[in-house]
């Protein structure tokens, strides 16, 4: 059973088609990246999933059934437009939101204490939220999202405006959630974070699905006929199977001729007696795939796959 099953959802605001026939599934225990440029329809899709918006068409099943009031307590949601009550103490704010998520007072208190210690917020618990730094408030928002130990965590732009230390903290936390068997949907346009964390991903643009599948599968589909080599001696000219040679970082990027395989190139280099320090397929970065796909506008053939 999929944790999330989104089936052909569509949503328009006036004449603007925000989400257009989007389908995807999210498996239990994975980090799923929901990607797209600003205004692509990511947030609208999430709001439909959470029953904040009613879809014009299609359906959503969470934990195997349409979302119900009791399902809400199994979901932790950190929206892009997020905030906290500014005029009350941090402790009261977190406690109130934890209670709204269905926790009893004792459990909420225990978990809050643990999180405050872990995130160095213990000394600030009696302070009004408005007096806390932005970083502290972001930590508190994350605590509010996770305190009820949800089975499904949906985080919209989790790294926006975070400094490197807090970014790493969030990444560690998300990885930890996956290890604990929880499912995370991460909505972002920061591709390098997706490459680091996500198992599978969906790229939407202008409300339409552009790419969908496992990260590795998508990268392989976009793989170029290139290999990267780092040798003891420089490659000064082309050789059999190599169309062009370009210096890249400490090594060389070899563009292969049509029909040539990386295996052949490797064997060729060994037969030349060269000492090979590094040899790898030149995989495109997600940034490159993103730009290429979004600029191309149309869904890319052959890359929609279940991973």
């Amino acid at each position: 059973m999929h944790f999330v099953d989104v089936d052909h959802i569509s949503k328009s605001f006036g004449s603007q088609r925000a989400v257009d026939d989007v389908s995807f599934t999210v498996n239990g225990g994975e980090i799923f990246g929901l990607l797209g440029p600003n205004g692509a329809g990511k947030t609208t899709s999430i709001r439909i999933m959470l029953d904040i918006y009613q879809a014009d068409g299609g359906s959503v099943r969470i934990f195997g059934s349409p979302i119900k009031p009791e399902t809400r307590d199994r979901i932790g949601y950190l929206p892009e437009e997020r905030g906290l009550y500014q005029d009350i103490t941090l402790e009261r704010c977190v406690m109130y939101l934890a209670r709204l998520k269905g926790l009893d007072k004792h459990t909420a208190q225990t978990r809050m204490d643990d999180y405050f210690k872990r995130f160095d917020l213990d000394a600030h618990r009696k302070k009004k939220v408005k007096t806390l730094s932005k970083g502290m408030q972001q930590k508190a928002q994350l605590i509010v999202t996770l305190i009820h130990e949800p089975d499904l965590i949906i985080i919209d732009e989790p790294f926006s405006a975070l400094d490197p230390v807090n970014t790493q903290m969030v990444k560690d936390l998300l990885a930890e959630q996956r290890e604990a068997g929880r499912t995370v949907i991460m909505c972002t346009h920061q591709m390098h974070q997706v490459e680091e964390l996500c198992d599978r991903m969906l790229l939407i643009n202008q409300g339409k699905v552009m790419l969908y599948g496992s990260l590795r599968g998508i990268q392989q589909q976009f793989a170029r006929q290139e290999v990267y080599v780092d040798l003891d001696q420089p490659v000064t000219e082309t050789f059999a199977g190599v169309r062009s040679v370009q210096p890249r970082n400490h090594g060389f990027l070899l563009e292969l001729e049509d029909g040539a395989s990386p295996d052949n190139i490797l064997q060729n280099l060994i037969s030349q007696g060269r000492s090979i320090r590094r040899f790898e397929l030149a995989m495109p970065t997600l940034d490159e795939i993103f730009i290429q796909t979004v600029k191309g506008q149309a869904p890319v053939n052959g890359v929609t796959m279940e991973g």
Binding site: L50, R82, Y85, L100
Partner: protein
């Protein structure tokens, strides 16, 4: 239900913990008491106690008898008799007296009296002089006649077909419903403003999206409304307790003079609670539609204005409680809570009109809830664009 209770608790405690709440709760009665006290004090301080002279050519005050003092502070004015106006004038110039009356020889026929004073402003001493003259003119009559003449009649107005009655002598019983209506008006305004602020705070703090993934919009609306209405009712309770405490210090005689028409009060409370709920829903609607406090104010000023109308027409309501304007305003949902109890104090309001005002308010509550729900759906995630009233109607047509 657990979540609704949690929201109620949060809303209530958040407001009640604020210093501003307690300042507000006590400042209003204190202001009323202070303004009344200052008026009385100003009257006392401003009253010139310098003696007053008189020159009596009529003989009415040949053997003057002073009336019993009946002023607020129990003092009586001192009158000094002069035989010659020139002497009285000199006394005035010397500051020995604050003015002097010259009573004409044919006073009993003409009533002519001249009062000489440094300036032409109306002087409170004239009232005291009138009392003195009346008292002395009536000396030939028995004391009971004198008393009745000086104190006037004790008129009770009775409605022809009911047990309702008004004692015009007991002015405080006529003013009491107005004071209560005024306090209820303040409570409705304050309660509504708390709800408005609570919704605006959610939007300003960007909390709405987090909240509605934890609770349903209905749970949120119900919790916020009840929590903040509880705050308004707490104010009512505190004011009631303060009023009760004041009554404890009044002499028992004074308490017997206060008559409360409990039937009117029950209707007043029903209409007040209905109006409070209606305003709560309308404020909640406006709070969701606005993006900040300023916009919320723009959306709600009209409600406050309409609810203030009774203050403008209150005299007409009192003097013509069965007139068309009084009747319409006692049925109109925004003014019924004020006008209906006042009308009921001064006239026998037909039962169907009382029932209709309650039903109309209930209908208005249903409409307000419906509008608030519409606004909630449209406006809860609209952080940068104010929802207009026309947008709500557009959605209604589309729905």
């Amino acid at each position: 239900m657990k979540k609704i209770l949690e929201i109620i608790r949060y809303e209530y405690v958040t407001q009640v913990r604020r210093k501003g709440f307690w300042i507000g709760i006590f400042s209003i009665p204190i202001m009323i008491i202070l303004s009344s006290g200052i008026s009385v004090l100003a009257m006392f301080i401003g009253t010139d106690r310098t003696p007053v002279g008189y020159v009596d050519h009529s003989g009415v005050l040949a053997s003057p008898v002073l009336p019993e003092p009946d002023g607020l502070f129990g003092e009586s004015m001192e009158f000094i008799a002069y035989t010659d106006p020139a002497v009285a004038r000199q006394a005035l110039l010397d500051g020995a007296i604050q003015g002097y009356f010259v009573i004409a020889e044919n006073y009993q026929q003409s009533g002519m009296v001249e009062y000489f004073t440094p300036d032409l402003s109306y002087d409170m001493v004239i009232g005291d002089f009138e009392d003195l003259m009346r008292h002395n003119l009536l000396q030939a009559y028995p004391e009971t006649v004198r008393t009745r003449f000086e104190q006037g009649s004790n008129i009770t107005v009775r409605a022809l077909e009911s047990t309702q009655q008004l004692n015009l002598d007991q002015w405080w019983n006529l003013v009491l419903p107005l004071v209560i209506a005024f306090l209820l008006f303040i409570l409705i305004q304050v309660g509504g403003s708390y709800i408005l602020q609570a919704m605006v705070t959610e939007k300003e703090n960007r909390m709405m999206e987090i909240l509605i993934t934890a609770v349903t919009p209905t749970e949120l609306m119900v919790g916020k409304t009840i929590g903040n209405l509880g705050v308004a009712l707490t104010m009512l309770l505190v004011w009631g307790l303060c009023g009760g405490a004041v009554l404890l210090f009044l002499p028992a005689y004074a308490l017997t003079q206060v008559s409360i028409n409990w039937g009117v009060q029950v209707i007043a409370i029903v209409l007040f609670l209905e109006t409070l709920i209606m305003m709560a829903c309308l404020m909640l609607m406006a709070g969701v539609m606005a993006t900040d406090a300023r916009e919320a104010g723009q959306l709600t000023w009209f409600f406050g204005l309409v609810m203030s109308l009774p203050f403008i027409v209150i005299t007409s309501v009192i003097f013509d409680p069965d007139g068309p304007m009084s009747t319409i305003m006692s049925l109109f949902p925004f003014t019924a809570f004020f006008v209906m109890p006042v009308r009921m104090t001064f006239t026998q309001v037909p039962g169907w009109q009382v029932a209709l005002s309650i039903v109309l308010l209930a209908g208005m509550i249903a409409l307000a809830v419906w509008l608030a729900t519409r606004a909630m759906k449209q406006g809860m995630l609209s952080f940068s664009r104010k929802i207009k009233y026309s947008d709500l109607l557009k959605q209604r047509r589309a729905a």
